[in-house]
């Protein structure tokens, strides 16, 4: 076991984890934050996307011990004071989800891409979301939602 400190959605946690523990399982099983999904478990699908020190990462491919000391934001940390994050509202308004399984990771990736590129073209949105797979084929409305947030 290794003592590991994670600040998740602004709350500091000290966890004892095995070195082999994946960050996504630390979030889900230790902290009960089950909004972050596990999809492919091979860093292809992006369902497990969170932000680690301000950058989008796939939490199924990070060891919890690697994140020791890091600031983590999960889908649960986006809303504030009961108000959805603008990206969450845009996904709602533009019907950017069907089954919803990819949605937490898709929203975290979308928020991350606008942080790095606040005014992306449609092509840039599509290529920057290449690490997130939606099997309901909802990409078109997802891109519309991201464009709506970028346009303010």
């Amino acid at each position: 076991m290794r003592r590991t400190t994670l600040t998740v959605n602004g709350v500091r946690h000290e966890l004892d984890v095995e070195p082999r523990e994946l960050l996504v399982l630390a979030l889900r099983d230790h902290l009960g934050l089950t909004g972050t999904n596990i999809g492919c478990d091979t860093s292809s699908c992006g369902a497990c996307t969170i932000h680690m020190d301000g950058q989008s990462v796939k939490s199924c491919t990070v060891l919890a011990v690697q994140a020791d000391g890091a600031e983590i934001t999960t889908i649960e940390g986006l809303a504030s004071n009961g108000e959805m994050h603008p990206m969450q509202s845009a996904f709602n308004e533009h019907h950017a989800l069907q089954c919803g399984y990819c949605t937490p990771g898709m929203i975290m990736a979308a928020v991350g891409l606008l942080q790095e590129n606040p005014n992306p073209t449609e092509n840039e949105i599509r290529s920057d979301l290449e690490g997130n797979l939606c099997r309901c084929t909802g990409y078109h409305n997802i891109v519309k939602a991201v464009r709506a947030v970028a346009a303010g």
């Binding site: 523990e21 860093s43 292809s44 990462v57 491919t61 990070v62 690697q66 891409l113 920057d128």
Partner: protein, 280 residues
């Protein structure tokens, strides 16, 4: 999927990491983890100890050293893509890094991790081979420099010794040369089915030299020597014919992604397109 148990050590310096590699049974370095952790999860890799070099200072960033760039081995691929000295001095390195994985993978994956892993389907080894880059490694015997042509030895095999760490990569600037990296891959799998990196020096349509390297056309990246020979001193009209020799001397695998014959075909097409792009 959960990896098999392993001991975990955080290296505080390169020397500390070398010491851990030397003293621990079956130790392996952990950089960004985006090649290694997937293998740990399916238990194709089962190291005794993981030595995490993610907190070693001085291994991150790009230094402009005049004739070449010095790239710290722990520089992430997204930092390579965004680095101004790379975009100006060696744009091929940035355009290749931008084609690895996806934004999330590039935020964590490092150039050193990618090179030391030695996966025949990875993109950066091919580009460094075409660029005639040098890799600086440090081990218990001191520091040595290995040419990219000597570094990639075989299938997941490099010239790194068991106690050695890749610390930096020296990448010659490409100046006025035209460059391109193109790859063909399955939509949901970013590993290259085939890739090609080209560096072409030309003047008024006449090619003085061309360096062409291929991804996944054998157990390690390989130079397309027949193409290079056909283009030296030729004009750009020779590109289509020269590219037909791209698969000569290669040993492409047959796997779920593609058969060997199909890979040979793609290599010729991509080589023609990459050369045309680099010369335009």
């Amino acid at each position: 999927m959960i990896p098999a148990p392993f001991e975990y050590e955080v290296a505080e310096s390169v020397d500390h990491a070398v010491e851990l590699l030397t003293t621990r049974e079956d130790a392996k370095l952990l950089a960004g983890g985006h090649s290694l952790i997937p293998l740990l999860k399916v238990r194709l890799a089962r190291p005794g100890t993981l030595v995490d070099i993610g907190r070693v200072s001085g291994m991150v960033g790009v230094l402009d050293a005049g004739e070449h760039l010095v790239v710290g081995a722990m520089t992430t691929l997204s930092d390579l893509v965004a680095d101004a000295s790379v975009s100006v001095g060696c744009p091929l390195l940035a355009t290749t890094a931008a084609q690895v994985g996806d934004p999330q993978v590039r935020h964590r994956g490092t150039i050193g991790g990618s090179l030391a892993h030695g996966d025949p389907a990875s993109d950066l080894p091919t580009t460094l081979l075409a660029l005639d880059a040098e890799l600086v490694v440090r081990g218990s015997g001191g520091e040595r420099t290995i040419a990219a042509a000597d570094f990639f030895v075989g299938f997941f095999e490099t010239a790194l010794g068991p106690d050695e760490i890749l610390t930096e990569i020296r990448v010659p600037k490409t100046g006025a040369a035209g460059t391109a990296y193109l790859k063909f891959h399955h939509r949901a799998i970013d590993w290259a089915t085939v890739g090609v990196a080209v560096v072409v020096e030309s003047q008024n349509g006449s090619i003085s030299s061309a360096r062409v390297a291929l991804t996944n056309m054998g157990p390690a990246p390989v130079r397309a020597s027949a193409v290079e020979a056909a283009l030296a001193g030729a004009d750009r009209g020779a590109v289509a014919r020269a590219a037909e020799a791209a698969d000569r001397g290669t040993d492409p695998p047959s796997d779920l992604q593609a058969g060997a014959d199909y890979r040979r075909h793609i290599a010729k097409v991509l080589t023609r397109r990459a050369l045309t792009q680099a010369l335009s």
